[in-house]
Symmetry: C2
Subunit: 677 residues, 2 copies
């Protein structure tokens, strides 16, 4: 080949470049360099997904002079597409445009046809697309008496010829439909081909060109089930919905649901049906939101804690209720959605993320996948607080996981004035150390209680109670104001100074908020409940730090609802989590849901989470004598734990807020920001 026969092409923004023979279609060039350009129609100029923008100009740095005339002129196929769908003037279909000379080409992150409204609840994290199911448009050879192969065999040949898909199996549900779909599409059809490492499987088939394919990511929480509908073609989350887990009527917390199964012979089917029914309801809802139907949902990924995971799969969770807390299945699960009563496309495929251990579920695995401590050098602590706290600690060298029985106090249960985070619930608290007077903020109102607007804008229900994040902040502020001692006793002597503190039986109570009809108070039992919960959490974290041999952590990620609302400063004041530079502490929201979406959109992430779950060292806190010791020490406020220095009561806290999910300072740790030493 001489120089005159090939040309240099640079793809932006990836920066990949290569020399190609003149006449090569741009799509082929992009693919040969590993630049991802979508295409459903197999280069026929039908789907319009392979749009690119040629960028003319002198690119001195790259030594390229790119000219528009270095692409073959737009022909009949593109004209036909532009008539049907409107092709922006600067765009070309890369399957049609051939390289004639040196070029710089811009690959838009989404081609115009992909545009979808991004819903407000959608997560914005960008996930590389490599879903297990892809759409493939093919033109099947018509039947011929002289060559009497079956319709399916010719469909398979077309998939091999046009998409390099060899030996595809087919969902048995499609056998009866094959003939009519092929004939309805005049032998042009779109196949959904699922391949998750176990060979290609045709799961759906439509006449003609089908360009929509969705995936469902579901986080099955004990309290709430959340579903996200993701466009498999663009990777975008197009709809989200949540619902209360209807299993609540069988028991508020996990263990009462396990008991229900143990006590009732029909308990398990009822619980399984309840959760599957709720998921199917959500599916209907997100499909409607995205203006599609369940038949266009081809993949679903599920996460949940071990009990939810088992019940969803129809597995008796009783074994998880006692030692040795044996999981029936811990590895990832692939199955047809219909085998498990999930009502998406009849050929749709389900992926359930793996569990880590009997108390550390697929939700924790998914959160770990999303936060990727296994991909960083820095010692990362990932905590998801619920009735159990799931704790992951480590870095790419070594990762540990444990669960700690925090109980429901952090969720506002077992607290006298506790409630769920709902309008009217106290979520922020400040206590003046001199006057012991409080200021509060409640869910549903943007103003502090000492602002003039508060009275007007407070939710109509008034101030109704205190939620999980509010409790942590209240106890911490009480401690910082000297209302609570290091061993958690409310100081009765203060009753002389302020009527905020008053005697109640043989202990004292603090009046946090005096409302119209309801007083919000914190009594000694409430303080004890929080002490127990935080001691359990901290003891678990500390045990893992001992095992890992580290005295401090470099990053902290707080997952879940509690983690999203809690102020990390106060979590450190109380000693829920070890000390860490506050800018390296971040709430990561529904990390489990993000992990589920990652597994939905990218097969590589499935292999990654499977490997990660195998690699992570599982620590059973109940088997560790040290856990009890750490627990007892951590009952103190903040924690009687060496070698970490105690927090002096009088040291002012830095007022800077942690940047949620923001960029971190890399290797340069700003020690000045730390509040002790």
């Amino acid at each position: 080949m001489t120089d005159s026969e090939d040309a240099l092409v640079l793809f932006m923004p990836s920066g990949r470049r290569g020399r190609f023979e003149v006449g090569t279609p741009l799509l082929d060039a992009a693919r040969s360099l590993g630049v991802y350009v979508e295409s459903v129609c197999g280069g026929r100029g039908l789907c319009g997904r392979c749009q690119i923008t040629p960028t003319p100009g002198q690119f001195a740095k790259h030594k390229i002079t790119s000219k528009l005339e270095h692409l073959s002129p737009s022909g009949e196929v593109e004209a036909r597409y532009a008539k049907r769908r409107a092709l922006p003037a600067d765009r070309r279909l890369s399957c049609q445009a051939k390289i004639l000379g040196d070029l710089v080409v811009d690959v838009p992150t989404d081609s115009a046809v992909n545009k979808q409204v991004v819903r407000k609840r959608a997560e914005t994290r960008k996930i590389d697309r490599d879903p297990a199911t892809r759409l493939m448009y093919v033109e099947v050879v018509e039947p011929d008496m002289a060559n009497p192969s079956g319709d399916l065999d010719r469909l398979r040949q077309a998939l091999e010829r046009e998409w390099m898909v060899k030996g595809a199996r087919i969902d048995s549900l499609l056998y009866p439909q094959l003939q009519s779909i092929l004939r309805k599409g005049d032998w042009k059809v779109t196949a959904a081909v699922h391949d998750d490492g176990d060979g290609p499987l045709i799961t759906a088939l439509w006449p003609g060109l089908q360009q929509r394919a969705f995936g469902l990511a579901v986080d099955i929480g004990s309290t709430t089930i959340a579903a996200h509908l993701t466009d498999l073609m663009s990777g975008r989350t197009v709809a989200s919905a949540g619902t209360a887990n209807p299993q609540v009527r069988f028991g508020e917390d996990l263990m009462s649901r396990v008991s229900y199964v143990m006590m009732n012979p029909d308990g398990l089917p009822a619980l399984t049906e309840a959760v599957r029914g709720a998921i199917n309801g959500l599916t209907e809802k997100v499909a409607a939101q995205a203006d599609t139907t369940r038949d266009q949902i081809l993949e679903a990924a599920f996460v949940g804690n071990p009990v939810m995971h088992h019940i969803f799969l129809g597995i008796d969770p009783t074994e998880l209720g006692g030692a040795p807390f044996a999981l029936a299945v811990s590895g990832a699960i692939h199955m047809p959605a219909r085998d498990i009563g999930v009502e998406i496309h009849p050929g749709g495929q389900v992926y359930v993320l793996p569990c880590i251990a009997g108390h550390v579920g697929a939700d924790a695995a998914a959160a770990t996948l999303a936060e990727s401590p296994h991909r960083t050098d820095r010692i990362t602590l990932l905590v998801d607080v619920g009735t159990n706290a799931e704790i992951i600690l480590g870095s790419k060298d070594r990762l540990l996981a444990a669960s700690s029985p925090t109980g429901p106090a952090f969720e506002g249960a077992e607290i006298s004035c506790g409630q769920r985070a709902a309008p009217g619930a106290i979520e922020r608290v400040r206590i003046d150390p001199e006057t012991l007077e409080s200021r509060i903020k409640v869910v549903g109102c943007d103003h502090w209680s000492d602002a003039p607007e508060f009275a007007e804008e407070v939710p109509s229900v008034g101030v109704t109670g205190i939620c999980g994040s509010g409790i942590v902040e209240t106890i911490a502020e009480m401690f910082l104001a000297g209302i609570i001692s290091e061993d958690g006793v409310i100081n009765g002597a203060l009753a002389e100074r302020s009527d905020r503190v008053f005697a109640n039986d043989r202990t004292y109570t603090y009046m946090l908020w005096k409302g119209d009809g309801i007083d919000i108070t914190i009594n000694q039992t409430d303080v004890r409940a929080i002490q127990l919960a935080k001691a359990a959490l901290y003891a678990g974290v500390r045990l893992l730090m001992d095992k890992l041999g580290v005295a401090e952590v470099e990053r902290i990620r707080l997952a879940g609802a509690f983690g999203s609302y809690i102020d990390p400063k106060y979590a450190m004041v109380l000693g829920l989590i070890p000390d860490c530079e506050v800018e390296h502490v971040a709430a990561v929201g529904n990390a489990a849901g993000t992990g589920a979406r990652m597994a939905l959109l990218n097969r590589g992430h499935r292999r990654e989470v499977e490997q990660l779950v195998r690699d992570v060292e599982k620590i059973e806190t109940a088997m560790e004598p040290k856990f009890q010791e750490h627990f007892v020490n951590a009952m103190a406020l903040p924690n009687k734990v060496e070698p970490f220095p105690r927090l002096a009561k009088t040291v002012a806290l830095p007022r800077k807020q942690p940047r949620s999910g923001g960029e971190e300072g890399g290797g340069s740790r700003r020690r000045g920001g730390r509040r002790h030493r």
Copy 2:
């Protein structure tokens, strides 16, 4: 290793031999030489399937002196087994017996525990065993808090550790049952592992040691459905049953069933349900015969003509009713039995053999597999006569297939006195050329009609009609007796000589049998029907011979019911089949059923039939101008076809019967036996 450390072991009857280190268990030695010794329990001395017999003595030819003391003495494990199950005195468990010196060992074709009554209808053909599903007993590690893997993961590990099965998937139906089965078996379980080239799949699981596993082979004929239950552990057919195809109520022949589907919107589901229901009824029946249950049937293999194949799979057969006779699927099909309503074990797997073409079905493919023309040097003709005749011609170099529209005359339909082969039907005929008097034999009586016992032993219904094989013989005898001319006209001049021949409208009729209440006659229309049928069959055969470029065939195999009862001599007199040495013509019974059993018992045979179907050249008779020419020529008796010599009317037929399925004379063709030239 020195000579003193190893020993020579010879396994009989295979004759395989090898040197093994002293101390090697015999089972391991056998396996390393590829000598098949069954074992379910993984060498634990539990299942008793690995029995062998050591043979002491001087084996000069093999230079071995075999002594009983060259095996380790029988120990506790074998004593325990012998107590439970009775171990013959000369038998040892090869998993326990270790090699101590030179040995000759006999591997019984079946170990004692395998003994099953062989039912009278079972086929006797020996098929090497390598079924897609195997039983594997494993001891699973108990759950451990310190190593919190799931029950399934530990089951998988056990399968890998003990059986080298890597990365087994599991049927999703088993998820909810795993825990209780493992605990019920005290962590000792037997798994059924299916692997048909698509990776291992756990399809069933039992607590403890499970030693029974069956497979079902089903031939779905238009008229009859036959099921054979095969012991997957021994390869033996243990029960057989047949039933009329209940689709008959929707149409007697295939095309009327296709019409029913075309005319009735609910026609297809009704036909599909009918055939599946009949199969499930047969399954129940054979399971009961073999004293087992449907839950122990783990595999099923199906064959049928294309229309039956499609309807069974729930596929509309309409396309098969007209050109281009497009099959929806021609390749082999694997699917879970439950996806297709086949009621065996809920995790049982179905294999449907591939079809060859729109008129040459999985039954023909199975018959070809069973008769293996693709494995011989000799030009073989395989014919299965039904409403269509399926014709396979060739050898290992090249194989051709076609279908010819013979119509139902050979089955006794469209013949004035025709009937199915049932007691009272005439099946053998001799006509005296001088007197034109006839002798007959009927189904259900062993004597010719001129024997004194005939009157006594004839079935109570009397002589009721004439069946397919009887018609062929009658027409041939009529021709040989000069009653029919070469162009098929009944010679009216004979009416003067005998009242057997009499005028009937403008043609003549032959009185074959004058019974008490019913006369069995052959009229001119009957002769024409047989002429048309045999012309179609012969034209198809001749077309394939032309294509293959051969003037004669070396072996003929007649499959199916018609092929079993017809006398090949008469088939050659009439010219149904080309001339061939009569000892090289054999009826092979239900070859399709045999092929189904082969696919059931040996995965290699599945790959073989899949390859064979790809390789065979499909000839569509409707597209071949020569077919019509051959057809017209073959209307004559025997056939006006060059270059084959005509059969002279006066030449006596050899009286020797063909040996059904017997040994053939290899390369030395005895020309003296031929009846012409």
